[in-house]
C-alpha cells in the first residue's frame, strides 16, 4: 500500500497539513504551491529506502502495510536518514529532538482507517492504496477519453464527409 500523489489534482488547500498536524502534533506533509500548480510532499515510504539502509541503529523498519517507520526508542538523532533521503523528509521532533517523519498514521491503520491526509483530501490528490489498482483506474479513464474523442471524430466524418 502506498500514499499515491495524484499529480495535477492538488488545490493547495492544505487540508492534509492541517489534518496531519491535528493527528501528530506536527505536520509531516507539506504542500508546495507554485503559480500554476501545487504538490503535496511527504515520506514516499520507498521500496529500497535509503534511510533504512543507512540507519546505524536499525531504528527504521517497514511494517506490514509497507510503511517505513522510525522507532524512537532506537533512534539516536544522527539524521543520517535525513542526509540520504531523496525527498528531504525526516525532520527534528522539537520536543524529543529525534528524527521524525510520516508513519502513514500507524494508529489509524491499526483501527482499519486510512491515513488522515488521504482520508480528508477533498480532490483525491492523495490516495492510499495499491499502486497497480490506482494506475488501472487512471488508465481506464484515459481509455474512456480516447474512445470519446474517436467517437466525436467519427461523428464529424459522418456529418461532413
Amino acid at each position: 500500500m502506498k500514499l499515491f500523489i495524484n499529480l495535477g489534482r492538488c488545490i493547495a488547500c492544505k487540508a492534509c497539513e492541517v489534518a496531519c498536524e491535528k493527528e501528530h502534533g506536527i505536520s509531516f506533509i507539506s504542500v508546495y504551491e507554485f503559480e500554476d500548480m501545487a504538490v503535496p510532499l511527504n515520506c514516499r515510504h520507498c521500496e529500497k529506502a535509503p534511510c533504512i539502509e543507512v540507519c546505524p541503529t536499525n531504528a527504521i523498519k517497514r511494517d506490514g502495510d509497507g510503511a517505513v517507520i522510525i522507532n524512537e526508542e532506537k533512534c539516536i538523532g544522527c539524521y543520517m536518514c535525513s542526509a540520504v533521503c531523496p525527498y528531504a523528509i525526516p525532520i527534528v521532533d522539537p520536543i524529543k529532538e529525534l528524527a521524525v517523519k510520516c508513519n502513514l498514521c500507524a494508529d489509524r491503520r491499526k483501527e482499519g482507517n486510512l491515513p488522515l491526509c488521504a482520508s480528508v483530501c477533498p480532490t483525491d490528490a492523495l490516495v492510499f492504496g495499491e499502486i497497480n489498482e490506482i494506475m488501472e483506474e487512471k488508465r481506464k479513464r484515459k481509455a474512456e477519453r480516447i474512445v470519446e474523442a474517436q467517437r466525436k471524430a467519427i461523428e464529424k466524418i459522418a456529418l461532413f464527409g
Binding site: A12, K22, D36
Partner: protein, 674 residues
C-alpha cells in the same frame, strides 16, 4: 465518557458533515463521517471547526456599555432594558426607525424569529449579509427563472460536459466542491474559468478568460452573439420554454467578439472558442459567486448568465443548471426565511402579507418593502435609523467603506450585537449578548443545493451564552409578542406552516434523515427536489424570461490619481471577517497575514520587492500590507484578500436593483511604505 455527535460544518455553504468527538461533554476532535455531500472529505476550515469553540475570547456574559467600558449585566436586566429601549424608539420615531441585521451564520429558526420580531414590531427593515453576496443573484434569477436558488444538485456537476465557472474560485472558497468539479473533468467535461486572476480553480481550466474587472456583461453578450450567429442555441428549448429571445438577438447583435475584445481585453478568438465549447457540449452548468455579483451591474451580470444558460437549454435537465454558489452555511436558509426587506418566509412578497399575517394571528403586517443593509447604514448615518439589532454579523469588517459604517454605528441610540466573540462591530454596541456557537445548539441549516440539514447539539455553551433562538424568544416575550415556543422544533414546525417550500420538512424527518432534504418539499411524504425548473419555471406563466442587458462600466475607473484597479478575494484558510477562523492556530500560522497581489511588471515600475510593505489608497481609505509579486494577477490590477480589513478601501456604490455594493472594483494607487 466519550461520545460521537454528528456535526454540520459552520463555515461555507457546502453543507459538509463530520463527527464531533467529546470527552465528558468537552469537544476533543473532529472525526470523519463517511457520508454526506462531502463524502467524508473536509477542508482545513472544517478540520479546525472545533478550535474556536472553547477559545478564551468567547463572550460568556451579557455586557452593557457604561462610562467605565463594558460591564456585566444579568440576562433578565439586559433583555428588559433592550426591549424597553426598542419600544421607546418605535413609539417615539415609528417602527421604521428600527433596523435588524439577521445572520447567514445562524439557523433557519433563528432567522425566522428575528424577521418575525421585526415585522411584528411593524417594520420590514430586516436584511442580512446575502445583500453583500448574492442579492444580485436573488434579483436576477427571480426575474429570469423565478427562483433564487441553485437549480440543480452537486450530483449534476460530474454529469455535465462543460462547466462555466464565472467569478467563482471554489478551490479557495468551496474546496470540497472541487471534488465534484474534478470528477466532471475526469468524465471529459471542459472547464471554462472567467476570472481576472489566474486562480487555483483556473489551474484546472481548459480555457481561462482573464477579463478586465467589471466587463462581464460584454463577455457574456459576445458569447451569446457567437452562439446565435452560429446557430448553436437550443432552438426547441428557446421556443417552448422561454420568451424574450428576439429582444436578446437585437441587443447582442453589436457585441461581436472583436467589439468585446476591446472592452474585456480577451482576444476575440478565445471568446469564440469559449462560446462554441460551451454551446456544443450538450450539457452545461454555469457556476458563479462574488466575482460576478458584487458589481453595480450585479443583477445585470446574473441575468446575462441566466440568458446564456437558457439559450443553450442548460436548465432543468440532468447535468445542467444555474448554480449561484453560496458562501455561508445558512445564507440560502436566511433568504428562504425572509430575512430580507422585501419578502416574508418562502419568498412571499411583503406587499401581499395576508396569508402570513393570518398564521401569525395579526391583523396586518407592514406592506412597504424595508431597507437593505447599505441603506440602513446610510439612514443610521443620517439619523433616521435609531436602533439597530445585529445578530451574528460583523459589518465593520464585512461591509464596504469601513469608516462610513463606523460613523453610522456611532450615531445610533441603541446598538445591540448578539455574537460569539467581541467582534469589531460589537465594540460599538450598547449591549452585547453572548450567543451559543453551532455545536452548542440545535436547528436546521440550508446548504447551497437547497439541502436542509439538522444541526445537532454536541456541547454546552460556555457559561451564560445562549442559543440565538433562545435569546430571540426572551426578547420577543419582553416585547410583548406571543413567543411561547417550547423548543426550537416548535419554530421548525411553524416554518413548515409559513414557507411553502418547507411544507414537508419537519424536525422529526431532519433528525432521522441526517443527510437532509432538498426544498421544495411540499408534503411530509415528499422526498425533496433535486432539480428545479424540470417542466416549467417558477414564473407566473411557467416560461423563463430571457432579459437582455447592456454593458455598463464599473463606477470607478483608474485615473491619474488612482491609476490601478483594485479587487478583493478570499483565501482557503480564512473565513470572511476571520472571527472564527482567525482563532485557529493551525489556520493562522498558514494563512495569518494580510497581503496584496501585484503583477511583476507593476512591481518593477513601482520599485517594490516581494514581501515589502505597501500602502494601498482609494478615495475611501488606506490599507497597509505586504506585497506578493505574482503573475496570477494581470498588469494594472491589485488583488487583496478582504479577511484582514481591506474593506476600508472598497466602494460602497450600489447596484440600483439589488443594492449590492461594488466590492470587486475600485480605483487605487499603491505606495511603498518607507
Amino acid at each position: 465518557m466519550e461520545k460521537l455527535i454528528l456535526g454540520l460544518c459552520p463555515y461555507c455553504g457546502m453543507g459538509c458533515r463530520f463527527y464531533i468527538k467529546t470527552l465528558n461533554g468537552e469537544p476533543v476532535e473532529i472525526e470523519i463521517y463517511e457520508g454526506g455531500v462531502n463524502e467524508g472529505k473536509l477542508c482545513p476550515k472544517g478540520l479546525t471547526a472545533l478550535d474556536f469553540l472553547r477559545h478564551n475570547d468567547r463572550l460568556t456574559k451579557p455586557l452593557k456599555r457604561t462610562e467605565n467600558g463594558f460591564e456585566e449585566i444579568s440576562w433578565e436586566q439586559a433583555i428588559k432594558e433592550i426591549a424597553e429601549k426598542i419600544l421607546e424608539i418605535r413609539d417615539k420615531y415609528g417602527p421604521d426607525a428600527l433596523g435588524f441585521f439577521s445572520s447567514a451564520r445562524c439557523s433557519n429558526e433563528e432567522n425566522y424569529l428575528l424577521q418575525k420580531i421585526a415585522r411584528l414590531l411593524g417594520t420590514n427593515n430586516v436584511d442580512h449579509c446575502a445583500r453583500l453576496c448574492h442579492a444580485s443573484t436573488v434579483a436576477g434569477l427571480a426575474q429570469t427563472v423565478g427562483a433564487a436558488a441553485q437549480s440543480g444538485s452537486y450530483d449534476d456537476i460530474p454529469k455535465a460536459k462543460v462547466l462555466l465557472i464565472w467569478g467563482y474560485n471554489p478551490a479557495e472558497t468551496h474546496p470540497v466542491l472541487m471534488r465534484y468539479i474534478l470528477r466532471a473533468k475526469d468524465n471529459g467535461a471542459k472547464i471554462i474559468v472567467v476570472d481576472p486572476r489566474k486562480t487555483k480553480t483556473a489551474w484546472f481550466a481548459d480555457i481561462h478568460l482573464p477579463l478586465r474587472l467589471g466587463t462581464d456583461i460584454a463577455l457574456a453578450n459576445a458569447m451569446m452573439h457567437v452562439i446565435i450567429k452560429e446557430r448553436l442555441y437550443d432552438k426547441k428549448f428557446v421556443f417552448s420554454r422561454t420568451k424574450g429571445f428576439e429582444k436578446l438577438i437585437k441587443v447582442v447583435e453589436e457585441y461581436t467578439p472583436e467589439y468585446a475584445e476591446k472592452i474585456t481585453g480577451i482576444p476575440a478568438h478565445l471568446i469564440r472558442e469559449a462560446a462554441v465549447t460551451f454551446a456544443t457540449a450538450g450539457r452545461g452548468i454555469i457556476m458563479w459567486a462574488m466575482g460576478l455579483t458584487q458589481h453595480i451591474t450585479g443583477t445585470g451580470n446574473v441575468k446575462a448568465l441566466a440568458d446564456l444558460g437558457l439559450i443553450c437549454g442548460y436548465v432543468g435537465k440532468e447535468g445542467t443548471g444555474l448554480f449561484p454558489m453560496r458562501g455561508q452555511n445558512n445564507v440560502q436558509g436566511a433568504c428562504d426565511m425572509g430575512a430580507l426587506p422585501n419578502v416574508l418566509p418562502g419568498y412571499q412578497k411583503v406587499t401581499d402579507g395576508k396569508r402570513v399575517a393570518e398564521i401569525w394571528g395579526v391583523e396586518e403586517l407592514p406592506s412597504e418593502p424595508g431597507l437593505t443593509i447599505p441603506e440602513i447604514i446610510n439612514k443610521a448615518h443620517e439619523g433616521e435609523i435609531k436602533a439597530l439589532y445585529i445578530m451574528g454579523e460583523n459589518p465593520v469588517v464585512s461591509d464596504p467603506n469601513t469608516k462610513h459604517v463606523i460613523e453610522a454605528l456611532k450615531e445610533l441610540e441603541l446598538l445591540v450585537v448578539q455574537d460569539i466573540f467581541l467582534t469589531e462591530t460589537a465594540k460599538y454596541a450598547h449591549y452585547i449578548l453572548p450567543a451559543a456557537a453551532y455545536a452548542e445548539k440545535e436547528g436546521s441549516f440550508t446548504a447551497s443545493e437547497r439541502r436542509v440539514q439538522w444541526n445537532f447539539k454536541a456541547i454546552e455553551p460556555p457559561e451564560e451564552a445562549k442559543p440565538d433562538w433562545e435569546i430571540l424568544r426572551m426578547l420577543g416575550k419582553a416585547l410583548g409578542l406571543k413567543f411561547d415556543y417550547e423548543s426550537v422544533e416548535d419554530v421548525t414546525r411553524e416554518i413548515a406552516l409559513v414557507a411553502p417550500q418547507y411544507r414537508g420538512i419537519t424536525p422529526e424527518r431532519l433528525k432521522r434523515d441526517v443527510e437532509g432534504i432538498q426544498w421544495p418539499c411540499p408534503s411530509e411524504d415528499h422526498p425533496g427536489t433535486k432539480r428545479l425548473h424540470v417542466e416549467s419555471f417558477a414564473t407566473p406563466d411557467g416560461k423563463a424570461n430571457i432579459i437582455p442587458v447592456e454593458f455598463k462600466p464599473p463606477a470607478e475607473l483608474p485615473d491619474e490619481e488612482y491609476p490601478f484597479m483594485l479587487t478583493t478575494f478570499r483565501v482557503v484558510g480564512q473565513y470572511h471577517t476571520a472571527t472564527m477562523s482567525g482563532r485557529s492556530k493551525a489556520l493562522t500560522k498558514r494563512w495569518g497575514e494580510a497581503y496584496a497581489e501585484i503583477n511583476p511588471k507593476d512591481a518593477q515600475k513601482l520599485g517594490i520587492e516581494s514581501g515589502e510593505k505597501i500602502r494601498i489608497v482609494t478615495r475611501r481609505g488606506s490599507y497597509e500590507c505586504k506585497a506578493k509579486i505574482t503573475k496570477r494577477i494581470g498588469e494594472g490590477v491589485i488583488g487583496v484578500p478582504w479577511h484582514w480589513g481591506a474593506n476600508v478601501l472598497t466602494n460602497d456604490v450600489l447596484d440600483p436593483e439589488a443594492k449590492i455594493p461594488e466590492f470587486k472594483v475600485s480605483a487605487c494607487r499603491v505606495e511603498k511604505v518607507m
